[in-house]
């Protein structure tokens, strides 16, 4: 186990150290102390490391993550795990807006609430939120799964393409071209896998599924009012 103190080496010190580790390093487990809400901690990691951040982080923590398993033991600021490629980012507290934005892959788990624009423009990432998400979540979502164990705010899935949205609680309103869809066996299986990965106790049967009505894919003058 290796420990780094952000207070001593700064964000750049931590990130360059983690970036310089060879992919097959034996020093796999890292603990970061004193994050002090600083931005861009552990961004762009490209190795199968296990990183524990002991405290609250600022914006963009774990952005572009590849292969690493990151745990934030506290609150996460704006844009957590944005554009993640693979691996896991786990937030033990709440998260600010735009969590998992444009994520391509991997798993983002937020034990608490996730605020607005969660999974905005997601492109293949799986996101499981233990609490609720705010307005405009999964805006223009393209691929992947967003699982919300609490409620969803206004305009869920506005202008959505092909991502799958699962909500257990209430949905304040659906965005343009987002509709409720039937839950089939494959969806229940997907959901079971994701809930298990996020160590959730909810049952897949308690959720409802939402997705794209596929009417805004191409411009059609008949749908001009909906744009």
């Amino acid at each position: 186990m290796n420990e780094i103190d952000l207070h001593k080496v700064g964000v750049r010190g931590i990130n360059s150290h983690l970036h310089n580790l060879p992919k097959n390093t034996n020093e796999k487990h890292w603990i970061i102390h004193n994050p002090m809400g600083q931005h861009s901690i552990a961004c762009g990691i490209d190795a199968p490391l296990q990183i524990d951040i002991r405290g609250h982080v600022g914006f963009y923590c774990g952005g572009m993550n590849k292969d690493a398993e990151l745990t934030i033991h506290g609150h996460a600021g704006v844009g957590t795990a944005e554009n993640m490629m693979s691996g896991v980012v786990w937030v033990k507290g709440n998260s600010s807006e735009s969590a998992g934005a444009t994520g391509n892959g991997g798993l983002l788990v937020i034990d608490g609430d996730a605020s607005s624009r969660c999974g905005i423009s997601m492109k293949g990432i799986d996101i499981v939120v233990g609490g609720s998400v705010g307005h405009m979540s999964a805006f223009m979502a393209q691929r992947g799964n967003l699982v919300v164990c609490g409620d969803a705010g206004d305009a869920l899935g506005d202008s959505i393409y092909e991502a799958r949205l699962y909500v257990k609680g209430k949905v304040a309103s659906l965005g343009a071209d987002c509709i409720e869809k039937e839950m089939h066996a494959e969806h229940l299986a997907d959901l079971e896998r994701l809930l298990k990965a996020a160590k959730r106790k909810e049952k897949p049967s308690e959720f409802r599924r939402y997705g794209s009505a596929r009417k805004l894919y191409n411009f059609s003058v008949d749908h001009a009012d909906a744009y």
Binding site: M36, G37, V57, H75, E97, D113, G134
Partner: protein, 300 residues
């Protein structure tokens, strides 16, 4: 950009440390707003029959004794003045409107930046650290404090255009964001008799709140009406006599985070400002929801 920060002490034992606790918070927001900084601190309440004014003048060597003597003679009242930086705290038993119009007529270079029973407002161009030192805020004791670091977008970098803006007795407003309908709104409010010192958009929001409150609205009602009438994107932090209030526009794209422990409640544009507070590691932290008016201290 811009950074806003607020700290409200739930534990009265911490009052002597308010200025010290707040200093790293506002300094951490320097790179969000290096143009000017300001704070509103709530301390040393005056007697019921008295009013406390925060006055400012561009000349750091301005002779505030002139105000003291002149006011006492003209309004047959008692006054005390205390110079702090290029500001002055005036305490008097004269009626507030009489003081304001006398100042306007005889000392037009003096700006009234705040008034009430407990509020004191200090603001100035420059880096937050310099502004904080200039007004001796490090040693300041009090119950709560709000602050602003400004990156100017809608109007010039001047002391008058710095936040906080007073909105009524013991009330003031700091703002992160920008308003798009401030010109039209300013004209409408001028017709309602409101005065403006700058071309600043936040001053319009402050005048709007003042106008609403004078019309009998509660702070909560004024803020909720503002959601309808103020077009733009904003997070507002409003200092009140006994606490503060936070509200975000419906889109809520200007950052805001709140944290609470048994000892304090804090609000900031970014959590890193709050991270310096004792006990922050174990605080409850969340992002305020859009259009919800959050209040502490019983007001509103």
């Amino acid at each position: 950009m811009c950074g806003i920060v607020g700290l409200y002490l739930k534990n009265p034992k911490l009052k002597p440390k308010l200025g010290k606790m707040f200093k790293p918070m506002i300094i951490e927001m320097t790179n969000r707003g290096p143009d000017s900084a300001g704070v509103a601190i709530y301390r040393n309440p005056v007697k019921k029959a008295q009013t406390k004014f925060s006055l400012a003048h561009d000349d750091a060597n301005y002779d505030w004794k002139k105000i003291d003597v002149g006011l006492e003679r003209a309004l047959k009242c008692d006054c005390t003045v205390k110079k702090i930086g290029n500001h002055c705290i005036l305490v008097t038993n004269a009626k507030e409107p009489a003081v304001v119009s006398w100042l306007k007529a005889h000392h037009p270079g003096v700006r009234v930046v705040g008034s009430g029973h407990t509020i004191e407002i200090f603001k100035e161009v420059g880096l937050p650290a310099n502004v904080y030192d200039k007004f001796d805020l490090d040693e300041a004791a009090g119950t709560h404090i709000i602050g602003h670091t400004r990156m100017a977008t809608e109007s010039a970098v001047t002391t008058a255009g710095s936040h906080p803006f007073a909105t009524g007795a013991d009330l003031c407003l700091v703002h992160n964001g920008s308003l798009s309908n401030h010109n039209r709104l300013r004209e409408n409010l001028r017709k309602e008799g409101m005065d403006f010192q700058t071309e600043n958009d936040t001053e319009v929001a402050a005048a709007y709140m003042t106008w609403k409150l004078r019309g009998g609205a509660t702070l909560k009602e004024a803020l909720e009406d503002g959601l309808r009438d103020l077009d733009g994107f904003y997070t507002f932090l409003v200092g009140t006599a006994d606490g503060f209030a936070v509200v975000r526009d419906p889109i809520a794209c200007k950052h805001a985070v709140m944290a609470e422990t048994d000892d304090w409640v804090a609000m900031a544009t970014e959590y890193r400002a709050i991270a310096h507070l004792p006990g922050a590691d174990n605080a409850r932290i969340w992002e305020p929801e859009p259009t919800i008016v959050y209040t502490w201290g019983g007001h509103a």
